[in-house]
Point group: C2
Chain length 321, copies 2
């Protein structure tokens, strides 16, 4: 079978690519080729004869037209992150809305309807929220990124209903711990408060210590992408989107878990410096969820923040400084 | 002030235009000019120095670029109807999604942020529905038209949040009684079962007599467009969409109300002939609603189907045959 990952050069896309190459199959079928599409390839990728990299803009019709027409599996992860989409409205609309629209249209005109997993986001939620967001809470995004993701969900839903493809959208919690450096995502702090001090780097947290985060680890989100793909269409019904499970953790709790694992010296590298622009975005995101639908479908959260931090240390071969 | 109505050549757009010209003001300001934009102008319009008609495709960037840049009020009603958008996916996406996107982008680049009223639809709802749809029911459209309308709502919401315009989206019930002839809308039957027999024309209803319809009259929907415009932004909060009030009426009830008003001869012109394609679409639409938010905002439904039919007879100067 032929697999495509958009955003395959990014952290999650590359991690998913490595996992797929390592397991060698999807839904019981051997993966013959794995094509990555991204603007750049900073994340590590193995040498592997099955792997091909295309460099370009997912919203470029010419690039999309050049893609093979017979993908069986597509993981659509390419996106401009929340902070960047909020700072540059046109850029976000281009990459996140036009890119998704054009990709789906390209797939629709392929040799056969592929199965498509779309990475949506908890940023779908905002405004006046209930104390606990659940499967019946209306998406009311308060960022352009969130609006673009919700629009993508409705596109995936309608293309699926029409039989043009078999789509499944996952609303991802904030992914913690991301490796690398702080980036333009408003959620960047949620990984940085753990990662930077563990790596011996001082970090100024732009949100208050009591800020809560609804999070999922890189290991569990890669599992979720694969599980979403392997579920039968009947498991989704007429609603092709699901809120993934996660755990609610306060920034203080994250720092204390890091202190228990890596000691006072690491925790001492964290300082607090509020950034009103970041706080304004983060404040619109819900923190507490009930996800019975996802749990019934077999999606799983991490057990606790300590496990999440230890997995990060193991996966990224960190020697806590 | 300068007003634009897209879809201004259609039944509702022209009716809104006549109402605005007759009242002369919006939100207390005199209407200096009223521009209509549509592909054709079948509906009657008065001779009026304030009125200008532009003929073309609302999704044509060149036409949009030629529009004045300083509209104060925009009513965006232009759309390809549900049956046509389902039969021709590309046409629906072009007119209903690209058209809305490009119009909003044009308005965003204008001289000042206009206030925009967007006609969305009850077709936003579908799938596994509660017995009564309310303000907290998730939009889960099961037609491309419905998906395109929901996407338009999220665009209007995000452009409003960004301050590019001040948008308000109304989910319209089925509008009954529409004048004219049966058209490609799957909801066409809901007017035709009353209108055709009243006008002396035999009509074969494509859905079963027990089919229910959530409806609003042309008079009340024009009132709703104007009321939506005149409400302050604070009345909308972070959610720029509302389910309009309506009444639930069975097709049998509609026919019996017509019989009471126009006699057995009129009712005798109705026959039943199921059309599975129409029934499949109509079956996805909910019939029972609770609309506390709209009622609290001052929107109003019709009192009963008899009043709706009598208003139609009066407005269209029908002499029941």
């Amino acid at each position: 079978m032929k697999v495509l990952i958009t955003g395959g050069g990014g952290f999650l896309g590359a991690r998913l690519a490595r996992a797929l190459l390592a397991r060698g199959t999807l839904d019981g079928r051997a993966i013959g080729s794995l094509t990555l599409l991204d603007a750049a390839y900073p994340a590590p990728l193995p040498e592997d004869g099955r792997l091909a990299r295309l460099t370009g803009d997912v919203a470029d019709p010419a690039l999309l037209a050049s893609l093979p027409a017979d993908f069986d599996a597509v993981f659509h992860l390419a996106a401009v992150v929340s902070g960047a989409a909020e700072a540059d409205f046109d850029l976000g609309m281009h990459a996140n809305l036009d890119g998704t629209r054009q990709l789906l249209d390209r797939l629709r005109r392929g040799a056969r309807p592929p199965r498509v997993v779309f990475a949506s986001s908890v940023a779908a939620f905002g405004g006046e929220l209930p104390a606990v967001v659940d499967d019946e809470t209306i998406a009311n995004p308060q960022t352009s990124y969130g609006a673009q993701k919700v629009i993508g969900e409705y596109l995936v839903g309608d293309y699926s209903r029409k039989g043009y493809l078999d789509g499944r959208a996952l609303r991802l919690p904030t992914i913690v711990v991301r490796p690398g450096k702080p980036n333009a995502a408003a959620s960047s702090f949620a990984s940085a408060v753990v990662r930077e001090p563990l790596n011996g780097v001082r970090y100024e947290c732009p949100v208050a210590p009591e800020t809560g985060v609804w999070l999922l680890s890189p290991r569990r989100v890669v599992d979720a992408f694969i599980h979403a793909y392997e579920l039968p269409a009947t498991a989704w019904g007429t609603r092709r989107v699901v809120n993934l499970p996660g755990i609610t953790v306060g920034v203080t709790e994250m720092v204390e878990a890091m202190r228990r694992i890596a000691g006072d010296a690491a925790a001492g590298r964290l300082a607090w410096k509020a950034d009103p622009r970041i706080e304004a975005i983060v404040r619109t995101w819900p923190v507490r969820f009930a996800t019975p639908r996802a749990l019934a479908m077999g999606f799983r959260a991490d057990p606790d923040i300590g496990r999440v931090i230890r997995d990060y240390i193991e996966d990224e071969k960190i020697r806590p400084a």
